[in-house]
């Protein structure tokens, strides 16, 4: 048993770093389909890390949220996005507004900031996964960066969903997950949001013949 705690802790840290790595990979990925696959992989890693926390702590509701994450973020949402891409026929390259190396450098700076912000909280945390709070915040910020730098609608939404992944990681690492009813509510909101966005994509396409949101820059203060 003495060995089990450090091992699980190491596993959680490993998964958390994989999630961070995937966040960077998403930041650099220009192709829509590959981006969605990376997002699915991030969801899978998130589900695995939640599962490890669940096994170690024996909290039943964490098993549920691990399952929920797996179904929703690794399977259902990527499937919806894949379908959308196919139906909308937007397979081509995704261009970034800023060059990839610059984005990466900004991303590294964000990670450092995130770790500094999370430091005082991590020290207060007595959960086994406390080291991951910084990573969670960094994932949120990287996803945010991705939303800012992308000019196409679908990558922006993937960024939005990746931000939710980071928040979920924060919830499991700082605390052992939110109460079940809240987690279900959040999952429902994310799902409904994705569906509404799907509808929305078709409306945008119908109107502009493209999913480039640079068409959506007319409403400004003049």
């Amino acid at each position: 048993m003495n060995l089990a705690v450090p091992l699980s802790s190491q596993l959680i840290n490993l998964f958390a770093s994989v999630i961070l790595l995937l966040a960077f990979a998403m930041l650099a990925q220009r192709r829509v389909l590959a981006l969605i696959n990376l997002f699915a992989l991030q969801g899978l890693t998130l589900a695995l890390s939640t599962l490890v926390v669940a096994v170690t702590t024996g909290q039943t509701h964490l098993y549920w949220s691990a399952g929920l994450t797996l179904v929703l973020k690794a399977l259902l949402l990527p499937w919806i996005l894949h379908r959308l891409v196919r139906r909308l026929e937007v397979k081509g390259d995704v261009e970034s507004l800023i060059k990839v190396p610059t984005t990466m450098l900004v991303g590294i700076a964000l990670v450092i900031i995130a770790f500094n912000v999370a430091l005082p909280i991590s020290q207060l945390s007595n959960t086994i996964s406390r080291g991951t709070l910084g990573i969670a915040l960094a994932t949120v910020m990287l996803a945010f960066l991705m939303m800012i730098t992308r000019s196409k609608a679908i990558p922006q939404v993937v960024g939005f969903l990746a931000m939710e992944n980071g928040l979920f990681l924060a919830a499991t690492s700082a605390t052992y997950g939110m109460p079940m009813v809240v987690e279900l509510g959040i999952a429902l909101d994310v799902l409904v949001g994705a569906i509404i966005l799907g509808v929305f994509f078709f409306q945008i396409r119908e109107q502009f013949d493209s999913l480039d949101i640079r068409h959506l820059e007319k409403l400004k203060e003049r």
Binding site: Y176, I186, G193, K218, L219
Partner: protein
């Protein structure tokens, strides 16, 4: 009969029913009936709470006290008048070819579900569910903002979704931090997000975490309130969506988001010494007020201008709650009520005015007083009311906020006066020619519903002249709860 259950059940059943039956001749009436039912239930609930004091519902899931029951009643009332207004308004839009039958159906069902999410957000005891309901409220209104499917409305809806989505994600992070702080005190009982439990132990919550948590919550929910610098979605969404949606967004959704901040502020105040939360709110409020006031004079679109006016008032209210204390909280609550009633009345009048003139551009709207004196006077009186002219109620609340600021935070007074002055000049200068200019517009196919405009304005006027004692008591009690 549990009036609370009715208050929540009627809008959701109404929404589902409106989805199922679709767009029929009597669908607008069903919408009104559902809203009327919600309003009656909420009024009876209010009477019950005022008489018997706070209570729980469904175990500890929901908690109704004098603070939120007041918002529930206000929300249900404005919901009712908006549904009355939207009947003829939407029919006119349909005749003008701007809306199709399926979209009218979408509008009505989403309107009811939007009311439901707001009522859940107001009455829930669980800060996590509060977040879920706020997000759901965003989701229900995204498709309403893009109802016209024009390029501009799609852009507005997209901006609304992304900005509020990002904002509300910050609020979720704040909620997670709050849960983390609470769990250390309350343990993993699942009660650690229940407001009634949190408020009992608020003094023991870790100040560092609470400070960080409140910043995230304020920025997150503040995005929905329309606090600068994250207010950009608001004018677009208000200008491009249908007018009834503008009225409820401005009159209700902003209030509900502000209510979420207030609940969190009570906890943050208890945990963090030195008025940290209040100072933060005062700063954001003042910034918002000034930014909005100076943007007002640049506006050409009438709904956009009044959207900026909403941002301005939200800034003022946030500032008032930031000052804290019995008087400022009282003034803040009063101002929220007055703003809701007046601003939705203005949007009703503006909606008809824009429909008559066939445009939202202010330079093309002229001479309302001649085409339809009732709408003209409605817009004029509404504008005077929102600008804080006595004897309307907005004057009373603004006067209280200003005098309180002069007494306790004199440095803020010049800023407040300057912003209010600039806003007055900007709005009055634009509304005056719209009401009293020359015109040649044609009449509308469906007579507009003007009663809601004047019912709201009459209430605002009444409160400006005389606040009934039970209302004062009620405000006092709610203000005391906010600390």
């Amino acid at each position: 009969m549990d009036f609370f259950v009715l208050t929540l059940v009627i809008p959701i059943v109404g929404g589902l029913l409106l989805t199922v039956v679709g767009e029929r001749a009597w669908a607008p009436n069903l919408n009104v009936i559902a809203s009327l039912g919600t309003f009656l239930a909420s009024a009876l609930l209010t009477i019950e709470i005022v008489a018997n004091g706070p209570r729980f519902a469904f175990g500890e899931m929901f908690f109704i006290d004098s603070l939120n029951v007041f918002f529930v009643a206000l929300t249900a009332f404005v919901g009712l008048t908006t549904s009355i207004f939207s009947g003829p308004y939407m029919k006119n839009e349909q005749e003008h070819g701007k809306l199709t039958v399926p979209r009218l159906r979408l509008y009505k069902s989403m309107f009811q579900i939007f009311m439901f999410t707001m009522l859940v957000a107001l009455t829930t005891n669980n800060l996590g569910i509060l977040w879920v309901a706020m997000e759901a409220a965003t989701l229900t209104t995204v498709l309403l903002v893009s109802l016209y499917r024009t390029a501009a409305s799609l852009e507005a809806a997209w901006k609304y979704f992304i900005l509020c989505g990002v904002g509300i994600a910050q609020a979720l992070f704040g909620t997670i931090l709050l849960y983390f702080a609470a769990e250390r005190v309350l343990g993993e009982t699942g009660n650690a997000l229940l407001w009634t439990h949190l408020v009992e132990v608020k003094g023991q919550l870790e100040p560092t975490i609470m400070a960080l948590s409140f910043i995230f919550l304020l920025v997150g929910y503040g995005t929905k309130v329309g606090l600068a610098p994250l207010h950009n979605w608001l004018p677009d969404a208000h200008a491009e969506g249908p007018t009834p949606v503008s009225a409820v967004l401005s009159g209700l959704l902003l209030n509900v988001a502000l209510y979420a901040i207030l609940r969190c502020k009570v906890l943050a105040d208890g945990a963090i010494p030195g008025g940290f939360a209040g100072n933060l709110m005062m700063g954001f409020g003042l910034l918002t007020l000034v930014v909005a006031a100076f943007f007002l004079s640049r506006q050409k679109d009438i709904k956009r201008m009044f959207a900026y006016s909403s941002i301005e008032h939200m800034g003022l209210i946030t500032f008032a709650f930031g000052m804290g204390g019995a008087v400022a909280n009282f003034a803040g609550l009063l101002h929220m009520t007055m703003h809701s009633l007046t601003k939705s009345a203005i949007f009703f009048a503006v909606g008809h005015a824009a429909q008559k003139s066939g445009t939202q551009q202010m330079e093309d709207i002229r001479g309302l007083i001649r085409i339809n004196p009732v709408i003209g006077w409605g817009l004029m009186l509404g504008t005077l009311a929102i600008l804080g002219m006595p004897p309307f109620g907005v004057f009373a609340s603004e006067f209280m906020i200003l005098t309180h600021a002069m007494k306790h935070h004199p440095w803020a007074t010049p800023v407040l006066l300057l912003a209010l002055g600039v806003a007055f000049a900007a709005i009055f200068g634009k509304v005056q020619p719209m009401v009293f200019g020359d015109t040649h517009a044609k009449p509308l196919p469906h007579a507009p519903a003007i009663t809601p405009v004047f019912v709201h304005l009459a209430l605002v006027l009444m409160i400006g002249l005389y606040i009934p004692p039970y209302l004062t008591r009620w405000f006092h009690e709610a203000a005391r709860m906010l600390g």
